[in-house]
Amino acid sequence: MPPIISISQLSKTYSSGFQALKSVDLDISQGEIFALLGPNGAGKTTLISIVCGIVNATSGGVTVGGHDIRRDFRAAREMIGLVPQELTTDSFESVWATVSFSRGLFGRRRDDAFVEKTLKDLSLWDKRDARILTLSGGMKRRVLIAKALAHEPRVLFLDEPTAGVDVELRRDMWQLVRGLRETGVTIILTTHYIEEAEEMADRIGVISKGEIIVVEQKAELMSKLGRKRLTLNLQEPLSEIPDSLEPYRLELKSGGCELVYTYDAQGQRTGITRLLTDLSAAGVTFRDLQTEQSSLEEIFVGLVKDKR
């Protein structure tokens, strides 16, 4: 199946001279949840803004559903819903009016039943007649999501969807995203909350300084780049690490009761066998051991640091 979004050699240099994107290539498959991870200023919002038509690209091309975003902008944009990062709303409008407005703006026939369903799905129905300025921040975020969904898009962009959002709304939002995916909607979210990507995404792209550093299935990314940690619970506490074990760069924790060894899970040799032999030779004995995988956050920090 051809990708629903295809980005090729996309670059953006702002008039200030700042190069926000450097020849980005990226394909998004239909129906997947794709998380774009990156630190602030990495180019996440610029990338989304170009695909949505808010910012002009300096060079390169984008197609959405096979439609070029410039030549065939109507067909491309009809497919897209965007939830922006900032809480930008028409303060004096009612919730119902602003969501209905969005539907019309995207060329959809008036459909009160659909708007009603959208508002109910987002727990906004009770607030339908309230002016937006009277709503809390979380409610405003819901309004923005309702506006983005009002024209039944096939692709939904969520730019930092859970920044400053309480736990309940975050949970609701994740549930909503999963529900949308089940109906075939492709979801692209940017975030710097790693747990969000870890929890939600099928695939993860990491962007830093305008370049996509890596794009992988979440599981593959974790196994490929994940470092593992071996923790040994010692029989007798150690006051210091014996010199003979220095090459392993062990850490002594829990008041000398635990030895921690970090290794590359994908490496040809993990060094575990040798470590255990050397431990025995040094007279260090242990009663238990466990290994754990590093989190996406650690992977991410490692990647971005390498780039610098």
Binding site: I54, N56, T89, E93
Partner: protein, 255 residues
């Protein structure tokens, strides 16, 4: 989809609803200001002027007054209409929607022009309570009303795109449009001026608008109607060119 007519209708309704929310200010202020002008110029000063070119002074100033409001209201409505989404950030939705720039302009300018025409008509009705009015060329009157409202709504749209603060939004209307209107023969015939100032006045575009509009009421004008019409179209063309340039370059809209 060749034309996104639903988007045009949505923006138009949205803009009209905004006016409806502030209907009291929108209607009362022009009615009040018209009445004040009548008290000051019509009753106090007009009683000494009697008539200009056979038209009672009170009636003579009506077209000029309406023009004055039409210009300021068209500019204010359109400039605020497009500036506010830029200021509030809601412009993202407009930019990401499947609408062409032409559709955006038609909707915003259409709504702004509609509002100022309604206000113009309310002022006309208010004036009719003070003085006897005859409209000799009603079709032309409507034509001038429409042309002026559309032209200056386009002008307002350009200001709304150009402005990067509320002060700038006020700057052009306050420093350029209001003086030009007051000096544009709204309250007098430019034939009453000394020859030098009359010649200077001919560089003021508002003179042509007021003169043409006044002709549609009383059948007489400072400059010929053909020239008035040509000047209005010229200004319309300039504004259209400005809007076209803005959208071609994405000026102040797209980075």
């Amino acid at each position: 989809m060749i034309v996104n007519h639903r988007a045009v209708a949505s923006i138009y309704r949205f803009e009209m609803a905004r006016a409806w929310r502030t209907v009291m200010q929108s209607v009362i202020s022009p009615v009040l200001s018209t009445s004040l002008y009548f008290v000051v110029f019509g009753a106090a000063i007009g009683s000494r002027i009697q008539s200009i070119e056979g038209v009672q002074y009170g009636a003579y100033i009506v077209p000029g007054l309406i023009m004055l409001s039409l210009l300021t209201q068209s500019i204010a409505n359109a400039s605020f209409g497009i500036y506010f989404p830029r200021f509030a950030g809601t412009i993202y939705e407009l930019l990401s929607a499947p609408v062409s720039f032409v559709e955006v302009v038609v909707a915003y300018v259409g709504a702004a022009a509609t509002k100022s025409i309604i206000i113009g008509l309310i002022m006309l009705a208010t004036a009719a309570m003070f003085v006897d009015l005859e409209i000799r060329h009603p079709v032309w009157m409507v034509a001038f009303l429409l042309l002026t409202a559309v032209t200056f709504s386009l002008f307002g749209f350009i200001i709304g795109i150009w402005a990067d603060g509320f002060e700038k939004l006020q700057l052009v209307p306050l420093l350029i449009v209001t003086p030009l209107t007051f000096l544009g023969g709204a309250f007098y015939s430019i034939d009453m001026l000394p020859p030098f100032w009359r010649a200077v006045s001919l560089f003021n575009p508002v003179v042509y608008l007021v003169s043409g509009f006044r002709w549609s009421f009383f059948g007489q004008s400072d400059v010929s109607v053909g020239v008035s019409l040509a000047m209005t179209f010229l200004f319309l063309a300039l504004c259209l060119a400005g809007v076209w340039w803005i959208f071609k370059t994405g000026y102040r809209l797209k980075a």
